[in-house]
């Protein structure tokens, strides 16, 4: 049986059940507010959001692979394109683009045109160090770790902090292919 062709982000987004965007924004906002109340330190909240994102990412990756039918990416450039074009479209309904590749193709930026998490949000002065959308960096890091890539994902530009766009930097630290137990006999 010939393998099924990979599906586009739009096609998958159209085929899954969707939820009210405002409910989503409100739910996420409630999570961030509760974390701020419980943890008080903005840095701690950033870390928790990243951890939550990581826990989502490790599960989300299989959903992504099952629905999108993609085959193994040849290199990190293809991986980044997949995340931006299929991943973000499929899960958040937003288009993202990849830019600013470095010389050895291990570091790039993903720029989001739109961000449903931050609709109606303004950061107060007391939360200036907060990366409101830090859950997204955790999701990408978790998802890529399950497909054998150790990455570092950081926010370069954040509109809630006064920049003009949402830009994530994704840096490939190393490929970690699965180790098999029978090789450990040294």
């Amino acid at each position: 049986m010939p393998p099924a062709a990979p599906r586009s982000g739009d096609a998958i987004f159209a085929s899954v059940e969707r939820v009210n965007a405002e409910l989503f924004t409100l739910t996420y906002g409630a999570i961030v507010r509760q974390l701020l109340t419980d943890l008080e330190e903005v840095e701690e909240v950033n870390k928790q959001l990243d951890q939550m994102g990581y826990n989502i990412g490790i599960r989300l990756i299989d959903e992504f692979l099952a629905k999108s039918n993609v085959s193994r990416c040849v290199d990190f450039k293809e991986t980044a394109e997949m995340i931006a074009k299929v991943g973000f479209k499929m899960f958040l309904g937003v288009t993202a683009s990849v830019m600013n590749w470095d010389a050895d193709g291990t570091c790039c930026s993903i720029v989001l045109e739109d961000n449903p998490l931050v609709d109606f949000v303004e950061l107060p002065d007391t939360c200036q160090g907060l990366y409101y959308c830090n859950i997204l960096s955790g999701v990408i890091r978790g998802a890529l770790e399950m497909v054998a890539m150790k990455t570092e994902v950081t926010w370069i530009r954040d509109m809630l902090r006064g920049d003009d766009a949402y830009e994530l930097q994704v840096k490939l630290l190393k490929q970690v292919p699965e180790e098999y137990p029978y090789k450990d006999d040294e």
Binding site: M1, R59, D62, A66, Y180
Partner: protein, 114 residues
């Protein structure tokens, strides 16, 4: 077969699958996809995350790859989206079991219908 036996058999399969990748004379082998024995066939699907799904069926059964794909989708839905399921642990999700049985039944009916 109880849980411990299943775990033992599954871990044997995991090792054989890994060894087969090393044994392959060609590069880029992704492991055993089909094992044909006298009394059964074993079809195996490995996702890009390394999780393997295998089905044991009567020799010559068709369309097992499609069934495995369906099972993969059921796994991503009823297992991974269950917040109380711990990753890498044995699956004890009732919804998964129910839907899995339904999928296999549907497949069986479709096969007998031909």
């Amino acid at each position: 077969m109880d849980t411990n036996d299943s775990l033992r058999v599954a871990s044997l399969w995991h090792s054989m699958h890994a060894i087969s990748q090393q044994l392959s004379p060609t590069t880029g082998c992704s492991g055993i996809e089909l094992l044909e024995a006298d009394t059964f066939d074993l079809h195996c699907f490995q996702s890009l995350t390394g999780t393997k799904f295998f089905v044991v069926c009567e020799p010559g059964t068709q369309h097992m790859e499609a069934l495995l794909k369906v099972v993969y989708e059921l796994y991503t839905d009823y297992v991974l989206k269950n917040p109380f399921y711990e990753m890498e642990m044995p699956i004890r999700c009732e919804l998964f079991d129910i839907n899995l049985t339904q999928a296999v039944q549907k497949d069986r009916v479709a096969l007998l219908g031909r």
